[in-house]
């Protein structure tokens, strides 16, 4: 019996060693997985926070643009066309700022803002072309209608961002 153990001790020790190693390897893999999922969870949380902050800033910018549209409508009503033209430019710059900061995946959001910005550019051209000859009531009505459409669109986008209320009433 002793002979048998003497002869096979080395083999038995090897088997036990392998088993212990496998156990250790399993434990190490489990720990590594846990650490990786913890790291992934932290990354996901960081991404979500960054996304939320970006969306919040977009909403704030959109609300500022909506407020400016309201001001431009008042300028139209008072025939302050020069001042209105300056604000068209500011409005376009504001929209450009939102567009360039827009996350890559928000394609539809970007397209709607880009269209709104171009519509404002066309309004600017419209006022410039008609300014000398005089802007008629019909022109004013078309301009305000166009601004109302843009305002509604921006309010819809701000609301879709999920940060609550849109200000600025549509005239």
């Amino acid at each position: 019996m002793m002979e048998f153990w003497s002869a096979t001790w080395g083999d038995a020790a090897t088997v036990v060693g392998i088993l212990v190693s496998l156990g250790g390897l399993g434990w190490a893999i489990t720990e590594a997985r846990g650490a990786r999922s913890a790291s992934q969870a932290a990354q996901t949380a960081a991404d979500e926070t960054r996304d939320q902050i970006a969306r919040h800033l977009q909403t704030v910018d959109l609300q500022r643009a909506i407020g400016l549209i309201q001001l431009v409508k008042t300028l139209h009503d008072n025939s302050q066309w020069e001042a209105a033209r300056e604000h068209y430019q500011t409005l376009r710059e504001m929209l450009t700022g939102i567009i360039v900061r827009c996350p890559e995946h928000q394609t539809e959001f970007r397209e709607r803002l880009t269209t709104a910005r171009t519509e404002i550019r066309l309004m600017e051209d419209f006022v410039r072309e008609r300014f000398v000859a005089g802007i008629t009531e019909h022109d004013r009505s078309r301009l305000n209608q166009n601004l109302n459409n843009i305002q509604s669109d921006l309010e819809e986008l701000a609301s879709a961002m999920g940060f609550g209320d849109s200000q600025g009433e549509t005239k």
Binding site: R92, T114, T115, R117, T118, L122, F126, R142, N146
Partner: protein, 111 residues
């Protein structure tokens, strides 16, 4: 076929199959759409100051809103001019939602 011709063809195709929506603008003879951050504006122009509109203008604006390309009267390629005219008609149908209005009218007349 040039890059501009390809772009025109793509715009026509996407407007025809309804994946590209056009919007009204302050001018009733002018429509706008955007593909990502690039805008396209099509406009029907009066010829020689008369009110008979027969020519068209297409303008492409880059991501900063600057005009980068214009196709309009004086264009050498007759085919390109015709394509802009075709795109204008499709853009108008899209922006004014002509199909929907016609469907409503047809339904109202049936009842």
């Amino acid at each position: 076929m040039s890059q501009l011709d390809n772009i025109l063809e793509g715009l026509i195709e996407r407007t025809t199959n309804g994946t590209l929506k056009w919007s009204r603008t302050v001018e009733s003879n002018q429509f706008v759409t955007s593909v990502d951050t690039i805008s396209v504006v099509v406009r029907e122009l009066p010829v020689g100051g008369w009110v008979i509109p027969t020519s068209y203008r297409l303008e492409i604006l880059d991501e900063m809103g600057e005009t980068i390309e214009v196709i309009g009267p004086g264009e050498e390629s007759n085919n390109r001019t015709q394509q802009v005219g075709r795109l204008y008609i499709l853009a108008r149908h899209s922006a004014l939602d002509v199909q929907s209005t016609l469907a409503k009218l047809a339904k109202a007349l049936e009842s």
